[in-house]
Amino acid sequence: MIKNRRSQVHVSETILVLFVVIVILMMGVVVYFKFSVEKNKDLAEELSEEQATIMLAKAVGLQELSCDGTGCIDTAKFLPFKRVLGEDFDMYRRIFGRKKITITEIYPVPHDSAIDVECDVIKYIQMEYPENCGKWTIYDYNPENELGAKISTIVSLYYPEFDEYRVGRLEIEHYGDIRR
């Protein structure tokens, strides 16, 4: 009876030891994975920022938006580009990925009523254009509603309708992800 109990105690001890060992190992694995995921997340963010910086330079020279060979951005191409974007979104998703690209006019300073007002077809056909709006959202793809980091650069905006140059800011909001 006593031996039977002793052997039962031995078995319980073994199970306990194994259980503790497994728990410790599991904790180790969980901590390792957490660090590993964190490291990969940092890497993805680093790569995303690198990509966004390159994109900033690339967007200024992108034939869909730029003036031909003069280093400025042609505002008359924005609305046609948005239309084409709607028709070929997959292609542009491959170019831009998960980002938001906006262009804001900063000089001459827009009227208070035009600040942050999106320029669209309706605004364009009005006589007041380009004084009636001050911002174009060129591209926006953020399917998971992530919080993004922003980088920007100053660009020269050309209005061919009025043969006029203005100063704008090209801003790219990127979402810490290199997926497309």
Binding site: V11, I54, E64, E161, D163, R180
Partner: protein, 334 residues
Amino acid sequence: MIKSKKGNTHLLFKWIFGVIAGAIILAFFIKFSYVHLSGESLIEGNRILLTVDNKLDAFGVKEGTDVFDLKGEFNLGFDCGVLSSGTPESNNFFERKTDKIIFTQPKINERYFSVWTKKWEAPYGVSTFYYLKDKNSVILFVGPSSSSEDFVNFVGRIPSNMGIQAVDTTQFNPGDFVSTARQSSKFTVVYFGNPTYDWSTLKSQYGNFGDLEVVVVNLNEHIAEVYDTYGNKEDVFYFGDEMLYGLIFSGSKFSCTKEIAMNRFNLLTRIHLEKVGRIMSKENRPVCVDLLNEARKMLENYQFALTKTELYDLLEKVGRQNLQLEREDCPTVY
């Protein structure tokens, strides 16, 4: 005796338990290592593709030429808008779609490779073309270097680090290049004008060493014949010199990349067409409205042009119309 057997049973039970538990823990760690290693390899494989893609992106902002150092030998593949690393059958094979128009050989296995970027204008900027070549791929131009200025200018625009060799048609002797062909993985002979040796003759000279491709270019007609490594012939036309460089660097892989380029051309034409339409609505000067209207009609035709003749004809017309708009101080197409 019975007690001893009971003791043995306990011991046996402990061993069985220990072995099973040990096996489960071991299996868990093997699985863990496998997941970890394949995860690391996935990151590394994708990282090299992303690095190449980003480097090309950064380099393509302006026209230029350079030699890229990948800091290691990678099996890079370029197939019609898709970048890949590794061998297709292995576990470490990764692919990434790219928006760039890259004219190159199908595989680059070298640590260093040459890159040349050139803007394609038709007549407005359409895209940046990338030409890639490693030193194992040899391109030999055979043309009238003493009599054709077009040929000399065409060859002269290629940067020296792309490693193109050129020889005059009258002096071309296939036997002189056997040792060069022996050291190459791909050997492309590009004839400008009538070929002095046909594909089968060249195949008998160079075919044993690597892939042989022959391109016969007609600069006046903007057409070419491409013979792949099996001798299959394909007739193609190119739209602009930039595309002809593409044909030379990509050989038999040209048609697919050309299609991507033409899709992009179509897209840019649509943008310019709509831009002209919008500008017209803001324009009051009748001269400008008339000129813009003509430009719009040309772009409409340009958008749907398919043949070489139509494309070259409209290319010239749109260019001239833009110049006319500029002269009249009107808003221009591009």
